[in-house]
């Protein structure tokens, strides 16, 4: 169970890719403070559960998955807060930066967003993305197409959307 070796590998990967993890979280929670919380919580979970990592799992893929789940978790918690805070509007507003085009991702579901961000912004292979989502390859492809359709993105020639 307790595996110092794996823990060390996870730690290295966290320190190498925390910026990617932060950006990924940001596309979900849309503000600095929450994105930082997500990355911190994810780092905590990753180290804590490093023993559960199976041989052959890609650590980075696994970290992406944790960040996505943690972001979604936080969003749901916030949604719940909003409903219970309707009567007492004295909370401070978080600062949301105005990223028009990133807001375009709002039309996507949690999974679709992950596919778009990982495929196009983090340049991950479809198979890796499938691993992140724990879906098979063809499901992942169809999520990708569906997401592109939703975004109504016009891909320029040569920007073709999946690796064979």
């Amino acid at each position: 169970m307790h595996s110092p070796k794996r823990q060390q590998l996870v730690e290295q990967e966290l320190l190498a890719s925390y910026e990617s993890l932060y950006r990924l979280a940001y596309t979900y929670v849309k503000n600095e403070e929450d994105a930082m919380d997500v990355v911190q919580e994810s780092a905590y979970k990753a180290i804590k559960n490093a023993g559960a990592l199976k041989h052959g799992d890609f650590i980075k893929t696994w970290l992406f998955r944790i960040v996505i789940n943690t972001s979604v978790e936080l969003l749901r918690q916030k949604q719940r807060e909003v409903s219970s805070e309707l009567l007492q509007e004295n909370g401070e507003e978080d600062l949301y930066c105005d990223f028009d085009t990133i807001d375009a991702l709002d039309v996507l579901s949690d999974k679709e967003r992950a596919v778009i961000v990982l495929r196009y912004f983090e340049d991950r292979k479809l198979q890796e993305i499938a691993d992140v989502l724990q879906e098979n390859l063809s499901t992942t492809k169809s999520i990708l197409y569906r997401s592109l359709k939703k975004l109504k993105i016009k891909l320029t020639e040569g920007d073709y959307c999946y690796d064979s």
Partner: protein, 311 residues
């Protein structure tokens, strides 16, 4: 409006990563390491800690102690799973999958994995609505008991020689202001595999379970309208695509699809359309798998109750 992916990517890369993040990540790592050590020393089992953002987010808790508390009590199981499954709507009754039990069995080459969710219906004040909660859970249990009993019967009958895998999983397919729907996917694999679906719906306004007829006005002949539309879709699909076959005008007349049943499975799609789901083999040959038909709201617009479907 169209968006250029390069433009979005640029904005993505321009997301500024705060300088303090690195140090925070390091402190999380240290915290986790020391917790892991503590756990090892006291030999505590994993998964006891709640997945609430407890370490870093005191600010989240202010003013919402009650809500956070409710979340924290959630868990007698893997915490991250429970939280990931949570669904939190804004209005009306709140329905949550609070945890699940698993029935796992392995007997030679026969195995079963059945996940049985435990669901809770709450009103706006957060009080548990006993009767709807019990009703829904009883229904789920009756359904899962049936599956488990059939499997155990097969194990007995096979006397150690059988090959079979039963898998039952569930997902929340709809959770909006009006409706909470929980879908079960069952796969039974023997020489061949068969899939079937079962979907339960809770009306948020009342907290009660509803079926297809509850979406429609009293006495409306929704079954005929929906069936007619499905037949049209089947026909159109078969004309367009040779590889698709539905039992519509086949020689074996009793197999032909005539009308949907009272207890037909359905859900409301993301875009607010009624979608009818048929099990494998129900209206088509096995290779078609589980098939579903989205019914245009126009087709039933004059009889549907307000608020469930969108045009």
């Amino acid at each position: 409006m169209t968006h250029n992916i390069k433009q979005i990517k640029m904005d993505y890369q321009n997301i500024k990563v705060p300088e303090s993040l690195k140090q925070k990540v390091e402190s999380s790592i240290e915290q986790a390491k020391s917790d892991v050590e503590k756990d090892t020393v006291t030999n505590r089992s994993e998964g006891k800690k709640s997945c609430i953002f407890r370490v870093w987010t005191a600010r989240l808790c202010i003013g919402v102690a009650a809500a956070v508390l409710a979340l924290a009590i959630l868990v007698n199981m893997n915490a991250s799973v429970a939280c990931a499954m949570e669904k939190i709507p804004m209005l009306g009754a709140i329905v949550r999958v609070i945890n699940f039990r698993a029935y796992l069995s392995q007997d030679g080459k026969m195995e079963a994995k059945v996940r049985i969710p435990n669901v809770q219906v709450e009103n706006q004040e957060g009080e548990v609505m006993e009767s709807p909660t019990k009703n829904l859970n009883d229904n789920i249990q009756a359904y899962t008991d049936e599956i488990i009993a059939a499997y155990e019967e097969d194990v007995r009958a096979a006397g150690g020689e059988g090959v079979q895998a039963v898998d039952l999983d569930y997902e929340v397919v709809t959770d909006n202001e009006k409706l909470f729907s929980l879908q079960f996917h069952q796969t039974v694999t023997m020489a061949d595999s068969s899939q079937s679906e079962r979907i339960y719906h809770i009306d948020k306004a009342s907290g009660e379970m509803i079926t297809l007829k509850d979406l429609f006005q009293e006495g409306a002949d929704y079954k005929t309208s929906i069936s007619k539309n499905i037949k049209e879709q089947m026909k159109a699909q078969m004309e367009r695509d040779d590889s698709k076959i539905y039992w519509l005008d086949s020689e074996i007349e009793e197999d032909n699809f005539e009308t949907i049943a009272d207890d037909v499975d359905f859900y409301i799609s993301d875009s607010g359309k009624l979608t009818i789901v048929f099990d494998e083999y129900e209206v088509a040959p096995g290779y078609m798998g589980v098939v579903s038909f989205e019914i245009p709201t126009d087709a039933v617009a004059d009889m549907v109750k307000e608020g469930y479907l969108t045009v």
